[in-house]
Amino acid sequence: MAELLKITGLRVDAEDKEILHGIDLTVNEGETHVIMGPNGAGKSTLGAAVMGSPEYRITGGSIIFGGADITSETPDKRAGRGIFLSFQNPIEIPGITLSAFLRSAYEAITGERIKLFEFRKKLSAAMDVLQMDKAYADRELNVGFSGGEKKKAEILQLLVLRPKLAVLDETDSGLDVDAVKTVSAGIKAYREQTGGSLLIITHNTKILEALTVDKTHIIADGKIAVEGGAELIDEISANGFEKYI
């Protein structure tokens, strides 16, 4: 399988403090990878760095996506290449409806205008997968959404934008059991509809139950501590991270 994302020797600073001390990680097309690790290990930093967050500074190494070096590209360029990041804390944007925002994003990424009617059809189909109330389409983006609603809205964006790689940063945190199931069904639908790759940052194995995991990476103290297959998830669930710190 072709390499989609290849991270080599990645070192990342936040406010002049090094968080990631040289990460190597490769995700092939169509694979599902899981990143686990204790709090503060640098998991979210890795996700943000892949998306190009201005909060972090890359001081060494490279990020190659689809054969192109994107290490210093802006987030919009990366999104255009097919990278998506589901935020742990999605941002509220007052005055702009979810539907209007997502249509702008869709047009920016595809480079094509889409008629409102056609767009609403796509949106509606994606909302059905997530059992979302259609009224959310016309609500201001994330404004007044509960934690669970925000996470569903992130997965809704994933389903509409159909990226090649989805980085999900603790999409399951703060969700009740039913919401985890819904979100998990949404992620599964993304896999089935697009064949896209997943890089899932999580503490919780529930969200993974509906998915086939190809690889697991444990990050501790800014480094990959151990790697393995799906079986590593069960081991961590049973024994915790202590062994790897």
Binding site: D76, F84, L85, I91, G95, A100, R103, A108, I109, D138
Partner: protein, 469 residues
């Protein structure tokens, strides 16, 4: 490809055009009693108006320049030509309007706007109305929409004008109200009889087109009982390098159980001193709704005032101010609760960018007699960079404990996190910021008729097709 979306300085290229004025039509540039008499004679003012102008000039000469707001020392009153005669008088047919004037208006899209189901167009070129048309159905409903001079000479309205003109905003109000009283020229007169609900908005455009010329249009609107009117004032002016002054005056009389909505999009060029005075008085059960967009001018002082004089009268003010490079826009609103159970609501947004200064001032007074009244003020400011400035100066005077008042202010910068979030969805940096700004301005754009919302968004150079769904 998707159309580009970006936040830039307000693009005035569309508006920055002008045509040569015939020098002979300028009067001397200073303001003296002789000049005032000359203006008055040329306009054929009735005697009371000539006297009113001269009295106003005296007040003007005695009054101090305001010292409490943005600097206006760049304004040299001796160099302001106060009155420019248009080449032709009032036109009732678009085809009779002189070509250069017509071209200016066509660039602004006025006849098109009229064709698109608007009730009437009063377009002011320099100091006098050159084109005026009220659709027949509006006229048949008994609504009067004409220029103030004509109305003053019409025996049906002469007394009405004499008893209302500058009674709400007297020349003694401040120096520029006095100046206005002395040199006012042009503007609109609207009369809505009792029981008439005018569904389509009336609109007027004002433009300034001569170097160094001031504009002093007067708008007088009287809405009788149980009536409804939406009046839209749209302004834009070409750019000049000498200081220009706008000191217009708007007086609104809202009758019992009537509603008057007054919408303005102001886009004066960046050398303009906009010292405008607007005031409404609202009778029992009546309501005034101000929708105000301030985008242009070098310096603005603009605080529409609502006086709630009858039981249950209401005022709503929705405003947005966008101050870019070289602009100091001091805007806000004043409300006086002067009867029981009155209510007011103020909802404003200000944006500053590239070193622009945007100040929001509110003044709410609740008098002893205004028991059971309510007032809520909400203002939000957004600074797009670290060199811009935004201030909020709220004032509240509450003279009864039987009133409910609230004030909420928020000042913020555009957040890097929000920009990153939107960029991670494929929007470039400018588009991301534009989306945030247009969302921030949504309180005003949703209050405007579509074509004005579009004009407003053109003014801030936001392409909103993607964001209003």
């Amino acid at each position: 490809m998707k159309e580009k979306t970006q936040v830039a300085d307000i693009d005035r290229s569309l508006y920055d055009f002008r045509y040569e004025e015939d020098e002979s039509s300028f009067l001397d540039s200073g303001i003296t009693p002789d000049i005032i008499r000359e203006i008055s004679a040329e306009k054929g003012d009735p005697a009371w108006m000539t006297e009113f102008r001269l009295r106003s000039l005296e007040i003007y000469n005695r009054a101090e320049m305001p010292q409490w707001g943005p600097d206006i020392s760049g304004l040299d009153m001796d160099r302001i030509v106060t009155y420019i005669r248009p080449k032709k008088g009032m036109q009732s047919d678009w085809n009779d309007v002189p070509d250069d004037i017509k071209e200016t208006f066509e660039k602004l899209g006025i006849p098109q706007a009229e064709r698109e189901s608007l009730a009437g167009v009063g377009a002011q070129y320099d100091s006098e109305l050159v084109y005026h048309n009220v659709r027949r159905e509006v006229a048949e409903s008994g609504v009067v929409y004409t220029d103030l001079e004509s109305a003053m000479h019409d025996e049906r309205y002469a007394d009405m004008i004499r008893s209302h003109f500058m009674k709400l905003v007297p020349p003694s109000d401040h120096k520029f109200a006095a100046l206005h009283g002395a040199v006012w020229s042009g503007g609109s007169f609207v009369y809505v009889p009792a029981g008439v609900h005018l569904e389509i908005p009336l609109q007027s455009y004002f433009r300034l087109n001569a170097r160094g010329a001031g504009q002093f249009e007067h708008t007088l609107i009287i809405v009788e009982e149980n009536a409804y009117l939406h009046f839209i004032e749209g302004c834009s002016a070409p750019k000049y390098y000498e200081a220009s002054l706008h000191a217009g005056c708007v007086e609104l009389y809202v009758g019992r159980n009537s509603t008057l909505r007054y919408s303005t999009i102001e886009n004066w060029s960046k050398n303009m001193y906009n010292l405008n005075t607007k005031r409404a008085v609202v009778a029992e059960g009546g309501k005034v709704e101000w929708v105000s967009g301030s985008f242009g001018s070098h310096v603005s002082y603009l605080y529409p005032m609502s006086i709630l004089n009858g039981r249950g009268a209401r005022a709503e003010f929705t405003g947005i101010t966008f101050a870019g490079e070289g602009q100091n826009l001091d805007t806000g609103a004043k409300i006086v609760h002067n009867a029981p159970e009155t209510s007011s609501y103020m909802n404003t947004r200000s944006i500053s960018k590239s070193g622009g200064i945007s100040t929001f001032r509110s003044a709410v007074t609740i008098n002893e007699n205004a028991v059971g009244s309510k007032s809520a003020v909400s203002c939000e400011s957004l600074m797009l960079d670290s060199i811009s400035r935004s201030d909020t100066i709220p004032a509240m005077v509450v003279k009864t404990d039987k009133a409910d008042v609230g004030h909420e202010a928020r000042i913020g910068r555009i957040s890097d996190e929000a920009v990153f979030y939107l960029m991670s969805r494929g929007l470039d940096e400018n588009a991301a910021k534009a989306l945030i700004v247009s969302g921030f301005a949504e309180n005003v754009s949703k209050e405007l008729p579509l074509e004005y919302a579009v004009e407003m968004n053109n003014l801030i150079n936001l392409e909103m097709k993607g964001s209003i769904g």
